[in-house]
Symmetry: C2
Subunit: 389 residues, 2 copies
């Protein structure tokens, strides 16, 4: 029943959305899980929904090694086994400190964290070695990871064991990392249904600066401009604005920690954005000047080129699917009825979106299919009486 | 059969995606439609798919008035009636010129255009009056409109009569516009299933600069940064990046015309964006300085505030729906089966998204429902054996 390769019990430090979700997923796979959170109420919720048991030891005060040979020890009060694996799921700001605390406190345990910026934590651990706080052997038991999953809500109540299904889970080992630390991290990712991506902390941080932090900043910058907009203007909003700003509803406190923690990588990208923006502004200040139109077209074309590199579903190229749009009434069962007919036509739905606009009681269901199946699907749906656009 | 309030026949000048779609929709409603496009092949496609008949008159050369009392005249060759309404669906760059040509050529006709920037065309028509090219009475027969619909593809082959269903259609009349011009424009919008929004050309252009042109620029700026990104970084891409950049695949030639045509309104917004970006860059250059973190949090919080103002479906507030996520296999019929169970539970689907990531054969179906129905739906789907996240 218990997962192989994962030293147990697993102690999860931090029972927010991610920590609690990891606990739920590991428990579902039969692992022994302890939970600890500085907030007793957050911890109680996580326990109540079955993410693990309260850690019976005391994690307050300066760390003292409480076991010397890993999973054979017990907690000081004798009621529980010492953790074989510690998952640090604290807020990004304090993650490095909790990692070091865990390495000192549990000399036999593998320690991994799940914060979304990796370089700064790795540097904190290395600095611990330089400063003599940690031995090299202690530091080697640490491995940084980043499960790239989230929800629109936070906190343990929103936690789900399936949160990581099909999500990328980055594991940032270096030449000093102990093999059993990497093995434990990858085992957790696999148990939770995620895909392991191995890369250096430097490559990870440069990647997320571009694919996660830049989109967040762009969405916030665009949304910020909407603060004073008349309602009549916003009533014209379409999916272009909605898509571009969807992630702008993010938590400021979390994002301060992420952006400040990855400042150098993000800055490198923002300098490039500012250069492009300055060029566009200069061009648009005199749009009839020679070359001005070419410059504007160039910006859009460069966006085309970059956009075309984003991989699609299952790694397919982004434009690989054809879209069939069906007009549906806004009543229960309509969408299901369309998709039932799609299924009966034997055509697989590669992607799906509802497109609607304010003030209408109909919606457009956009069904992405393989291009070779498009006409067949349109014919089949048309024959069933659907309005296919 | 023929629509009331719409002077017929309708001549559509320009048979691209929008012109052809308008033709299809008007024909479906029983209106007489003529088509004319400088490209014989584009026009032939539009005719073939039933968007209207070839205009029998000659539109080349300098305009000469070919009718003096509206829809009672016939074309010079005597084979067709003179248009009662002219819809100018030319590329934005030449729209003003084709509008003036149409006002001169058809003294009895209402003339409307559908270009996505309105001020510059209105100014061209007014300049025509000042320069003595047009009389005030001729200019009064013009009304600018903007149907806010589009597809990922262009050209007449992609045209659909239902393209405008539930879309906003802005009508920009001023105090000089003839009532029958406004009536004809609004009749067309209604026939095609769109919602009429009346506003001045100035308000329209300021609105679209914010809700359409700024998102396009932001998506292009973000996507442009992806041009040199290693594939291993892009493999981590999630819906945040995909959503933020979805519209970056737009046509550079079309967008040059749109952005150059609305430069002053867009510039006003871009100055604000540059100010925010400069502030963010300065802050991130020294993220440990006093107040730096507050500054970053402020940017995200301002994005929250702006984002919260975007109206949702049917004008509802954006965060009004709760999301139930169901894990589905990537096989035909799975999504339909889920939604059938949703329908049987009597819960209406307010919005729908597929969420998937590269390399996985499962997907997450995100179903938005009214918050009061969420638990009930989760229970119902769980009872049917679905993995509800």
């Amino acid at each position: 029943m218990a997962p192989r390769g994962l030293p147990e019990p697993v102690l999860i430090r931090g029972t927010g959305l991610l920590g609690t979700s990891i606990g739920l997923g590991l428990r579902a796979a039969g692992a022994d899980v302890y939970l600890a959170d500085p907030s007793p109420s957050a911890q109680a919720v996580a326990e109540d929904i079955g993410a693990g048991l309260a850690y019976p030891g005391d994690l307050s005060g300066a760390p003292t090694a409480t076991g010397s040979s890993g999973d054979t020890g017990t907690t000081p009060d004798g009621t529980g086994a010492l953790p074989g694996t510690v998952v640090v799921a604290s807020p990004p700001d304090v993650t490095g400190q909790v990692v070091i605390d865990s390495l000192l406190r549990f000399p036999g345990a593998v320690v991994l964290d799940i914060a979304s910026v990796k370089g700064q934590i790795q540097r904190q651990v290395r600095a611990g070695v330089v400063d003599g706080v940690l031995t090299e052997a202690q530091a080697a038991r640490y491995v940084g990871t980043h499960p790239m999953a989230g929800r629109e809500r936070s906190g343990p109540v929103a936690a789900r064991g399936q949160l990581f299904t099909a999500a990328p889970w980055v594991v940032c080992a270096d030449q000093d990392t102990a093999p059993q630390a990497v093995a434990a991290a990858e085992e957790i990712a696999q148990i939770l249904g995620a895909t392991v991506h191995r890369m250096s902390a430097e490559d990870h941080d440069a990647s997320v600066a571009l694919i996660s932090h830049l989109p967040q900043i762009a969405a916030s910058l665009v949304s910020s401009r909407l603060q004073e907009t008349p309602a009549a203007s916003l009533a014209l909003s379409g999916n272009g604005l909605r898509d571009t700003t969807r992630i702008a509803a993010s938590d400021p406190q979390l994002w301060v920690q992420i952006l400040a923690g990855n400042a150098p990588d993000i800055l490198r990208i923002l300098y490039g954005v500012r250069e492009d923006l300055d060029r566009l502004i200069t061009t648009m200040e005199d749009p009839t000047a020679p070359g001005a139109r070419l410059d504007i077209a160039q910006l859009i074309a460069e966006g085309n080129a970059g956009h075309a590199r984003i991989p699609g579903k299952h790694g397919a190229p982004p434009q690989a699917f054809a879209v069939v749009t069906v007009i549906v009434d806004d009543t229960p069962g309509q969408i299901s009825a369309v998709l039932q007919d799609v299924g009966q036509a034997g055509v697989n739905v590669e992607d799906l979106r509802m497109d609607h606009s304010a003030g209408h009681e109909v919606g457009m269901l956009e069904i992405s299919v393989l291009p070779g199946r498009k006409q067949e699907l349109m014919d089949a749906l048309g024959a069933q009486g659907w309005k296919v656009v």
